[in-house]
Amino acid sequence: MVPLPYYLIVSGILFSIGTIGVLTRRNAIVIFMCVELMLNAVNLTFIAFSHELGKIDGQVFVFFIMTVAAAEAAVGLALMIAFYKNRESIDVEDVNLMKW
């Protein structure tokens, strides 16, 4: 059996990759994929803890996160399509109409 810290390290790495991706990537869809990576890192953490502690709450939480992520993807991709229709680009550098 793989001990708990291994799972936590992997999920920590995944979360960091996701965060760095959000901060450095320029394509809105790739940014969204990085956000999904962060959420999946969270899911892995929950599952690992749930197994380790013998509590089912963590697994239930994961179901909710996955459902919500799907709903978010639907709305987010729709927003990106609306943006693309008007701007013909999905690059966040082009999301620049408003600046202070």
């Binding site: 956000v35 969270v42 929950f46 502690l53 709450d57 909710f64 996160i65 008007n86 109409l97 408003m98």
Partner: protein, 487 residues
């Protein structure tokens, strides 16, 4: 592995959410049969739904504890959450009243608007009454997903698209932090229930030395700070507020912020009192930073919607002062302040919305030249809202600030209160600048396109009453707020 026990369901504890969701789904069905120029009727129907929702809220006040909690302790409809639910309903109702005119003018008169507002309100309510991290997360997402759509609602306008896209990307990003914090807290304490976390920490005082728990708390703090737009997590606010359709800006500047504070307060005050020295020191810095950044940046804004966006950041800072105080006076002050903020901010946005016309939002402060002479009543209303936002008596904003700062002084945070008052004084400059343009410059425009519909007039009347009455006789509302404090 334990088996999943059937929870004790108590629908009375989520009655307001249930009614709102049911009305929202019914409206989605009705929407199909309503012609596009008559979508205002959907607004009236949703207002009826909101009025009906007030009944369980009033009836639930001071209910016995066993009736308050439901779903095996996952939701708790105590006075605290009921007070916040009242704030959400007020802000939703006021925003719906001003929506139809704007949406018709801008040609994005889609009926989905009203169900989305109701669902967002239901999400806020779940956040306020959630006593399980899972429920708080679900409420937050129900709120956020609806708001992403509302921010990008004017889908033919690039600015609105940008607002929606920015809000979506940053909102989803911040949710990741919140969730990771929740996961680590679950790992450290073995439960997602707020009361369970508190009990675990009380039974194992050594847990506060656990790095994982500390990081979990910090990440949750970051996630909530994004939602309440505290500096340095405020970057999305001005862009989203500027680009979103004005009635939706009004809506999202009040309710989501109040909901974020409700969940933030409950998680930190009840689940993590063991970390109080740590988080109050952190929030101290956050409060000072938020107030200062918000106010100083607002000084330089020419666009009035952006100015109010930065001012809303500053207001989140004032509310954080009450949070840092962490006592009953400060918490009651937060609730009173959020309620009066709903009236004054939505009122101000209602006027901004009137001054604009199709294709010409007239959002520049200079566009208000002579407005006070051309429309004395509207000018007076705008002045009342601005005075209240600046915290000048006898408006409700003054009483709220007074209570929050006195809470901070009682808790011994003298410097924090001083910085808050100084900030509040600086903010007078940019609020009064709008009034200088309204009353001391010669009119450039005739403002003859202004059309105050009955719904709009009702919204303004309610907002003015909501600012002035608690400002002059604050006793009743303050008493309610004090009874709503959960400790």
């Amino acid at each position: 592995m334990e088996t999943l026990a059937m929870p004790a369901i108590n629908f009375a504890a989520i009655m307001p959410e249930t009614i709102l969701s049911a009305v929202a789904m019914a409206l989605l069905l009705v929407n199909v049969f309503v012609r596009s120029e008559q979508k205002a009727y959907l607004g009236y129907l949703s207002l009826i739904g909101i009025l009906v929702t007030f009944f369980p809220i009033v009836a639930g006040w001071n209910a016995p504890v066993e009736l308050q909690s439901g779903f095996n302790g996952a939701v708790l409809q105590d006075n605290f959450s009921l007070f916040f639910k009242g704030i959400f309903l007020v802000s939703a109702a006021l925003s719906i009243l001003i929506s139809d005119q704007y949406m018709q003018r801008e040609g994005c008169n889609h009926g989905e608007l009203y169900p989305l507002i109701l669902l967002a309100t239901a999400g806020m309510m779940l956040m306020a009454s959630g006593t399980d991290l899972m429920v708080i997360f679900l409420g937050l997402e129900l709120l956020s997903v609806a708001l992403y759509v509302l921010a990008g609602f004017n889908r033919d306008k690039l600015k609105s698209n940008e607002a929606g896209l920015k809000y979506f990307l940053l909102g989803a990003f911040s949710t990741g932090f919140l969730l990771y914090g929740m996961a680590l807290t679950f790992g450290a304490t073995g439960t997602t229930k707020i009361a369970g976390i508190a009990a675990y920490v009380a039974a194992n005082p050594m847990i506060t030395g656990n790095q994982m728990f500390l990081v979990g708390m910090l990440l949750m703090g970051v996630g909530f700070s994004f939602k309440i737009a505290a500096a340095p997590f405020h970057m999305w606010t001005p862009d989203v507020y500027e680009g979103a359709p004005t009635p939706m800006t009004a809506f999202m500047s009040v309710g989501p912020k109040a909901a974020g504070f409700a969940a933030f307060l409950r998680v930190f005050m009840i689940a993590l009192p063991a970390y109080k020295p740590e988080w109050s020191a952190l929030l101290w810095v956050l409060a000072v930073l938020t107030m200062t950044v918000g106010n100083i940046t607002a000084l330089f804004q020419q666009d009035i919607k952006r100015m109010l966006a930065y001012s809303s950041i500053a207001h989140a800072g004032y509310v954080l002062v009450g949070f840092v105080a962490g006592n009953a006076v400060g918490t009651a002050g937060i609730m009173f302040y959020m309620l009066s903020y709903a009236f004054m901010n939505i009122g101000a946005f209602a006027i901004i919305l009137l001054v604009g016309r199709k294709g010409e939002p007239n959002n520049n402060v200079a566009d208000y030249a002579g407005f006070g002479f051309k429309h004395p009543l509207l000018g007076l209303a705008m002045s009342i809202f601005l005075f209240s936002l600046a915290g000048i008596p006898p408006a409700a904003g003054f009483i709220g600030k007074f209570y929050i700062f006195s809470g901070a002084i009682q808790a011994g945070y003298i410097w924090l209160a001083i910085i808050g008052v100084l900030n509040s004084a600086a903010s007078v400059y940019y609020y009064l600048r709008v009034m200088v343009f309204m009353y001391m410059k010669d009119p450039v425009e005739e403002f003859d396109w202004l059309k105050v519909t009955p719904a709009h007039a009702l919204c303004l009347l309610v907002a003015v009453a909501g600012v002035l009455i608690p400002g002059i006789v604050p006793g009743y509302l303050l008493e309610l707020a004090q009874k709503a404090v959960f400790f």
